[in-house]
Structures are given as structure tokens and as C-alpha cells.
């Protein structure tokens, strides 16, 4: 065939790449606006311009800002808003990679019991009075350890050659039930006050965000994301099916394990700081997939951006549903997540 058709097709491919790049940029812009909104909403209302000015000043630009606005933004609102972005993003990416590994659009760290395990760890820590340590650190550590423990069980299964991804999902769901039962058990034997405390932790709330844990979470996330991006093409190949990925030279067992570990570390970190937040892990990657397909060079970062946007806007919603009252964000995400999920499934059938 003529080389003009060939270069035409090459051009089309490049155009498609820039279209996907634009989607990433577009979503970043939307995300930025919900981030600013998130900072602006709260008990003492700040103007958008105040928020923007403070942010610009923090970026080192010479802008005049009022002292109270600056204090509210930097000390109170900014860490929470940043935490919303990071946590949402991590949940999105965690879901995306679980779905890739398990070849199933319904998989996520949550459905595989990792969040429930973290919840159990936190509850147990609260129950034993943090073993005498500072609860602010002991509870997240308990959650982290338990989450990694349940992930470790999944790693063990994933390493076995004869285990299929379907069986791995079933095992994850079994773990979910196990940790939920254990969690109920802890709540059952706790005093009413303690039970209340546990329940509040489980709801998932960003108000626990401080600059320190924002920093830790951001660092862990950055490292894990970079490592995942390095394997972007291999992860894309994995979605062709394990056998075919192998035929292309992917060491499937190694890639599976590495990705599981990265996802588990990220998930355990965010869950131990903010509690259980459901649905973003399933919904965000599915939206990302619809927008840019499954080339992981775009799918991976977009899953992050969509997840971040969903949690950031849920945060705005949780503060503005009833003025003055702050709903735990874990409740809000599920409530807006479920209808969305249904719409998605029904929409899919129409294709």
C-alpha cells in the first residue's frame, strides 16, 4: 500500500495520543477547581479569590492576603483538601491496578478485603487502648499492619501457579467477610463509647489529616506511582491475558506480585490515615477506561485524577449538604457512588 496511508495512520495515532493527553489536562483543570472549592467550603466561608490568593502566595508569588484567610487555609483546610486528592487518587489507582491484575472490572482493594482488614486493625488497636502508645499513631499503625497482613495472604495465593484470578477474587471476598466478622466481634465486646469511637473511625474522615500524615501519604504515593508507571506497558500487556502476556515476554508472576505490593502499600497507608472509603476504587477506573481506553500510560494517571476528583467533590458535598454539619466523607462517597455505579452498568448494556 502507499506510504501516504501509512504516514496518515501514524498521524492519526499521534492525534489520538494528544487527544488523550488533553483529557488528562482537562481533568486536571476540573480537579483544580474542585480542590479550590473544597478549600473554600467550611464553617467560616472563604471567598474563592481569597483561597486562590493564599494558594498563589504559598507558591511564592507576591500577593496580598488577609491574615485570617491565610491561617484558615494553610493550617486547617489545605491539608484536608490535599488529603482528599491523594486518597481519592490512590483509591482510583488501586482499583485500576487490581482490575488489571485480576482481569475483572469489579475488583478493587476494598472488595478484596484490604479496607476491612485495616478497619479491623484500627478497631483492635482502639479496643486494647493503643497498648499505651499515642493513639494518633498507634491506630493507623494497627490498621496498616492488618491491611498488609490480609494483602500478604493474597500475595501468597497469587504466587501459586495454579490459582486463577477468579479464585483470587473469591479469596479476597472471603477475607472481606472474615475481617468484617472480626470487626463486628470487636465492636460487640466493646463498651458503647468505644464502639462509637470505632464506628467513627470506620466511616472514613479526612479531618484526621495533618501536615505530617499528608506528607507521609504524598511521599508513599509518589514513589508507588512512579514504580507503577515504569511498568505501564507490561501492565497493558497483562490485560491481554496471562498466557499472551507471557508470550510477549512478561514475567507474569513477578509483575503480579510487585503490583500487588505497591497497591497494598498505598492502600494501607491511605486507609490507615482516613478510614474506610468505598466505591471510588471501582468507579474511578471504569470512568477512566471509558475516557482513554486501557493504554496504561493514560489509564493509570487518569484513574488517579478521576479518583481524586470524586473524593474532592465528595468532600465539598459532605460539607455543604447540611450547613454547619460535617458528614463523614465515607458515607457521602457511597451514597453518590451507588447510583453512579448503576447508571454505568445500565449504560454499558446499551452499547
Amino acid at each position: 500500500m502507499s506510504s501516504s496511508t501509512l504516514s496518515e495512520t501514524l498521524h492519526q495515532q499521534r492525534q489520538q495520543e494528544s487527544r488523550r493527553g488533553l483529557i488528562l489536562i482537562g481533568l486536571s483543570a476540573i480537579l483544580l477547581s474542585s480542590f479550590v472549592m473544597d478549600i473554600a467550603t467550611g464553617p467560616s466561608l472563604l471567598g474563592i479569590s481569597d483561597v486562590v490568593n493564599v494558594l498563589l502566595k504559598l507558591l511564592g508569588l507576591p500577593v496580598e492576603v488577609s491574615g485570617t484567610a491565610e491561617v484558615i487555609v494553610t493550617n486547617l483546610r489545605l491539608p484536608i483538601a490535599l488529603m482528599a486528592l491523594i486518597v481519592g487518587g490512590v483509591l482510583g489507582v488501586g482499583g485500576a491496578e487490581m482490575q488489571t491484575l485480576l482481569n475483572n472490572p469489579m475488583a478493587s482493594p476494598y472488595t478484596l478485603g484490604m479496607a476491612a482488614a485495616a478497619g479491623f486493625g484500627a478497631a483492635l488497636m482502639l479496643y486494647v487502648g493503643s497498648l499505651g502508645f499515642n493513639a494518633e499513631f498507634a491506630v493507623p499503625i494497627g490498621a496498616f499492619v492488618c491491611c498488609m497482613l490480609s494483602a500478604g495472604l493474597l500475595f501468597g495465593l497469587a504466587m501459586m501457579r495454579h490459582i486463577t484470578s477468579g479464585q483470587l477474587i473469591l479469596a479476597g471476598i472471603a477475607l472481606l467477610f472474615l475481617f468484617q466478622s472480626l470487626l463486628s466481634l470487636v465492636q460487640f465486646v466493646s463498651s458503647p463509647e468505644l464502639s462509637q469511637q470505632i464506628l467513627f473511625w470506620l466511616f472514613g474522615s479526612l479531618t484526621k489529616a495533618t501536615w505530617l500524615n499528608v506528607g507521609i501519604t504524598a511521599g508513599v504515593t509518589l514513589v508507588c506511582m512512579l514504580l507503577l508507571m515504569r511498568d505501564a506497558w507490561k501492565l497493558t500487556a497483562l490485560r491481554l491475558g496471562e498466557e499472551r502476556a507471557k508470550s510477549l515476554g512478561v514475567n507474569v508472576a513477578q509483575l503480579r506480585l510487585k503490583t500487588l505490593i505497591l497497591v497494598a502499600v498505598m492502600t494501607a497507608t491511605v486507609t490507615s490515615f482516613v478510614g474506610i472509603i468505598g466505591f471510588i476504587g471501582i468507579v474511578a477506573p471504569n470512568i477512566a477506561r471509558m475516557l482513554v481506553g486501557e493504554d496504561q500510560r493514560y489509564f493509570l494517571p487518569l484513574s488517579f485524577l478521576v479518583g481524586a476528583f470524586l473524593l474532592s467533590s465528595a468532600s465539598v458535598l459532605s460539607k455543604s449538604l447540611v450547613p454547619g454539619a460535617l458528614f463523614p466523607i465515607g458515607i457521602v462517597t457511597a451514597i453518590i457512588g451507588v447510583p453512579f455505579f448503576f447508571w454505568m452498568i445500565i449504560g454499558k448494556r446499551a452499547h
Binding site: T5, L6, W233, T236, K246, S247, G249, E294
Partner: protein, 265 residues
């Protein structure tokens, strides 16, 4: 040259290879035939290092297959597994590109894309480049996966029933391309076929596998016979030969045969 020595493989009681030994020379197309479930696909997986046999050796030239270090071994294979379903949100071009997995980076060079497009062009499917693979027909998927296997610059090309979904045109496109490249590039080409006529036509070397044994091996004209077909498949077939002496195989339709028998009596 790919060499197998004293290979034994069994899943429980099921024996798939019983002290098998054979050599697959470079520059030739080797076709494996045999009944369903006899272990043809499993044999390719053994060659690829994906299934570890109970005993035996696999060698490429003089290099042994080392299970602790599979990467360099697999690097020289283009391998097209039997399953041709493609259920992923990628375009045809992206799927073909994945054939060069080791060369891909976050920023794709023009040369890589051009190479993939040329491979598509060679099999006459350049017009599908931007299509979502989930919208392709079964035969189109199979051709795309063939293009993907070619992208790997193979020294050994293994195709597991590569024409199972192809029409006459694409059968010819694929097999002629394979035939030509195998001789030109000096590949070791191995494919599994069920169509004995295609096997007879395209095999430089035909291997007949059944019950873990190699029943016959050699040029199709020498190997294929009515007796062999009956032994392998339990089917009475008629064989004829074309001008080049290449056999073709036909099985009679039984109901019509019975009718003609009862008419005669």
C-alpha cells in the same frame, strides 16, 4: 535448531509425552498434527518454558532451557497461543505494538509505530489500525495476533492453530507469509494445524503426535497415508495426490455412504 530429548510430560494419569525426542531445523516449517486433547498445545508450552516437564531436555542450538532464567530463552520466540479472544479497550495498532514490548517506553518513537503499521500493511489490514479490538471479528483478531507475534523479531515462531478462524484468503496470506519468511529469515517455525490439507501443503516436516508418542515424522507425502489417518483419528479417509505429489485428504459423508450401500444391495 530446536531440539527435544527424552521429553516426558503427564498430568496425573494423562500422559502427554512419553520419552519424546525430535529436532526442529531452522529455515523449515514444522507442522504438528494430532487428535484433540493429545498434548499439542502443551508441547508448545514446554518449548516456551511455561510447562516444566517431568523429565527431558530442550535445547536451542546448543543452549539449554534454564527455568531459573526464562527471559533470554523466551526473547527469541514469537508465540501465538491458541486462544484468540481479545477483550481489552485497545486499538489494533496498540495490540500489535505490544509485540515489541521490550522496546516500548512512555514516549513512543515514530519508528516503532511505523514498524507495527508496516506489519499490518503486509497482511492487508492497515485500514483496521485505529479500530477498537473488541469490535473485530474472530478471524480479524487472529490476523492481528499473528502480526503481533511477527513484531517480536523471532528466531523461533510457534503458532497454535493460527488459521482456526480464517477464511480462504487470509489462510493464504498468513501461511504464504510464514512460508516465505521462514525460508528467508531462517526461522524455526512450528505450527499446530487440524486441517490435514493445509498441513500437507505447508509442512516441510510433519510431526504426528498421539498418546505421548511421535507416530510419524517427515515430508507430508511420505508420512500421510490412509492407514495413518485411521490410526490417529479413527476415521476412514480417502487420499489423493496432486501434480506435485502432495496428498489431500477427504472423509466421506457417512449418511450418504450408507444410503448408497443400501441402494446397491
Amino acid at each position: 535448531m530446536l531440539k527435544v530429548r527424552n521429553l516426558s510430560l503427564a498430568f496425573g494419569d494423562l500422559v502427554l509425552a512419553d520419552q519424546l525426542s525430535f529436532t526442529l531445523e531452522a529455515g523449515k516449517t514444522h507442522v504438528i498434527i494430532g487428535p484433540n486433547g493429545t498434548g499439542k498445545s502443551s508441547l508448545l508450552k514446554v518449548l516456551f518454558g511455561d510447562i516444566k516437564p517431568q523429565s527431558g531436555e530442550v535445547l536451542f542450538d546448543s543452549e539449554h532451557l534454564d527455568y531459573r532464567n526464562l527471559n533470554p530463552w523466551r526473547q527469541r520466540f514469537g508465540y501465538m497461543p491458541q486462544d484468540i479472544r481479545l477483550d481489552i479497550g485497545l486499538t489494533v495498532l496498540e495490540v500489535v505494538l505490544l509485540g515489541q514490548l521490550n522496546a516500548l517506553s512512555l514516549k513512543l518513537a515514530d519508528s516503532l509505530i511505523e514498524k507495527a503499521l508496516k506489519a499490518l500493511d503486509q497482511i492487508g489490514l492497515l485500514h483496521l489500525a485505529q479500530r477498537d479490538v473488541r469490535t473485530l471479528s474472530g478471524g480479524q483478531c487472529q490476523m492481528i495476533l499473528f502480526a503481533q507475534a511477527l513484531m517480536r523479531n523471532p528466531k523461533i515462531l510457534m503458532l497454535d492453530e493460527p488459521v482456526s478462524a480464517l477464511d480462504l484468503h487470509f489462510q493464504q496470506v498468513m501461511l504464504d507469509h510464514l512460508d516465505q519468511q521462514t525460508h528467508q529469515q531462517h526461522w524455526v517455525s512450528v505450527m499446530i494445524l487440524h486441517d490435514l490439507n493445509l498441513a500437507a501443503q505447508y509442512a516441510d516436516n510433519l510431526l504426528v503426535l498421539k498418546g505421548g508418542k511421535l507416530l510419524a515424522e517427515g515430508a507430508p507425502a511420505e508420512v500421510l497415508s490412509a492407514d495413518l489417518v485411521e490410526e490417529v483419528y479413527g476415521v476412514k479417509a480417502e487420499l489423493a495426490y496432486d501434480q506435485q505429489g502432495i496428498p489431500f485428504v477427504r472423509t466421506p459423508r457417512r449418511r450418504l455412504m450408507q444410503q448408497s450401500v443400501s441402494l446397491a444391495s
